[in-house]
Subunit: 340 residues, 2 copies
């Protein structure tokens, strides 16, 4: 029996329940407006390790262990860990999976990874392929900055269109509908790669906005939902510029979601006081906001139905040097506090 | 209803059928023993592009288009393309998905990507989440060599333990059982990350062998199959050294598969004449061997039941520089000519 509705969306027949969730973030994120929501705030972004890459890996690992513990499960209970990150060859995730011995599906969706992993995890549980799945991702300001941009030691000035990569990790554990009390994942919309020709690697918001708008439109087209069916539509790391452009692109197709749309990249830092320019970005941005703030607020009843979307810029330093523009992608899942 | 059997394996309830498959390889691969099997052999490994990276992307793109055409489908019919490659931020796959407008799930499993993508594709089809899925991957000798090892212009000598990265791409299209006449994917075993401490990046076979042995053992433990239930067990790119070590590791757990075990990395080149030292490697190795040679031989009746496994070495140049050893992973799927 097909669970497909429309071109890009799946309606889950037995909506998986979120059994637990965890987040660990860096010091700067801890000082931001969502600081109190995270399970752990690092005092030092080296996390006792010898490199930022190893620190990122440890952060992801500890976040996943914590989520498993919070679900009263053990590593042996989990059937799959779906994870990815921004580093070349996703070493944070692969080395995490060396320590946490669970069958491992490595993903790369740049900053769309939280929603990418959640969407696959939800389908694996709904389809009867798994009892418990971990969906997780991480990013680290210092490991990302030196890989994608400049050595931090140079002290290079950042343009105002740039965003600040979040040091943070998030993990969600999904299980069968009957195994939990929600929130539930009810719909999954996977995105296509969209590229409107942006070449400025310091303006990721603009590069990702077309993909964000494309996935939101696809979701509404496929499901027939109205904007009012959602209490909140939240993107991953578009930042100020990306949010404005997404709303403009959606206006052109007669979708006005402005009264219920926000972005994780605008929530995690106080952009003015914390000097993060256009906002926050990185896989860890939407992961920490989801697994720190958002699910807690859904459980409290602040939001009943949320469209959670992560957005990724699919560039590499090599593709930029070879003159390529920056393609974007966005994946989205519907999270409901209760099943109607 | 759970489809899980044992700790790492899933038994597909409605085994997806392989509807079509395609492969494109470079000139050296075309001159190898399997040359006649591939759909297209490039005359020039630049494929009319300005860089090896762009050539790899084009090769992947053309392979997928060809597979879709051979299945008498159009891009619009396909629900997901699951793809990944060896390049940083998997740019071959992401830029492919910019041209081929299908919802895109980016994967990173290093050289395990063909089996990783096939395993997920099979579950998405079996679970009713997709009518048609493309599983695909690619690698390119020259883009991989300069990213992972040395600039080719240096003419650096390669140790005899090293393997030659295949220039090639492969794509498989899966659909519901009823949509084709096989071969079918019947079981899926996803691997854990295993690391026995190998640090030599010029001996990938040794680094991946423990993961290969782990997944083969898990598959037999989970399913209760005997070695004689398979006509062929074929790994991705272990090469001579990796094959020997895998067999030795399996002997230790009383599994002797030596009379039916081979490796894609030993089949695609004449290692002596073509001077490829320990054999072949790269995502494109198992992808081209599967989608060029293997499925054709299954259709001809040479093999009725095959365990197809791809193996990945999850290193990055950064992790190596930071003193890390090389973890490996292996994913496997059972391919049957007919349903018993």
């Amino acid at each position: 029996m097909t669970k497909r509705i429309g071109k890009q969306t799946v309606k889950l027949q037995n909506p998986p329940s979120i059994l637990s969730f965890a987040s660990i973030v860096g010091p700067k994120e801890g000082q931001g407006p969502l600081g109190v929501y995270f399970d752990q705030v690092l005092e030092d972004d080296m996390f006792g390790e010898k490199s930022w890459e190893k620190a990122e890996c440890k952060m992801l690992q500890e976040t996943i262990k914590l989520a498993i513990k919070k679900a009263n499960l053990t590593v042996d209970d989990i059937n799959y860990v779906l994870a990815g990150d921004l580093l070349n060859q996703i070493i944070s995730s692969s080395f995490m999976a060396r320590e946490i011995q669970i069958p491992y599906i490595g993903l790369f969706g740049a900053c769309s990874t939280m929603a990418e992993s959640l969407s696959l995890a939800a389908m694996l549980v709904d389809g009867g392929f798994a009892d418990y799945v971990v969906a997780a991702t991480s990013s680290h300001f210092s490991s990302a900055e030196r890989q994608y941009r400049f050595p931090l030691e140079l002290g290079t000035q950042r343009p105002l269109t740039s965003t600040w990569t979040v040091t943070g990790a998030g993990a969600t554990i999904l299980g069968d509908t009957s195994k939990g009390n929600g929130p539930y994942i009810t719909y999954v919309t996977n995105g296509r790669v969209v590229d409107l020709g942006i070449k400025d690697q310091f303006n990721m918001g603009a590069a990702m906005a077309p993909a964000a708008a494309d996935t939101i439109k696809a979701h509404f087209d496929d499901t027939g939902f109205k904007q009012s069916d959602y209490d909140l539509i939240i993107s991953g790391d578009l930042g100020k510029i990306g949010v404005d452009l997404t709303l403009k692109l959606l206006e052109k197709v007669n979708l006005d979601i402005s009264d219920r749309f926000t972005d994780s990249g605008l929530k995690i830092f106080d952009t003015e006081k914390q000097d993060t320019h256009a906002g926050a970005s990185g896989c860890g941005c939407s992961a920490a906001v989801l697994n720190g703030y958002l699910i807690k607020e859904i459980l409290k009843g602040k939001y009943n139905r949320v469209l959670f979307m992560s957005t990724g810029a699919l560039l590499s330093p090599t593709s930029t040097l070879q003159g390529e523009s920056i393609p974007g992608i966005a994946h989205a899942v519907t999270i409901q506090r209760t099943l109607d």
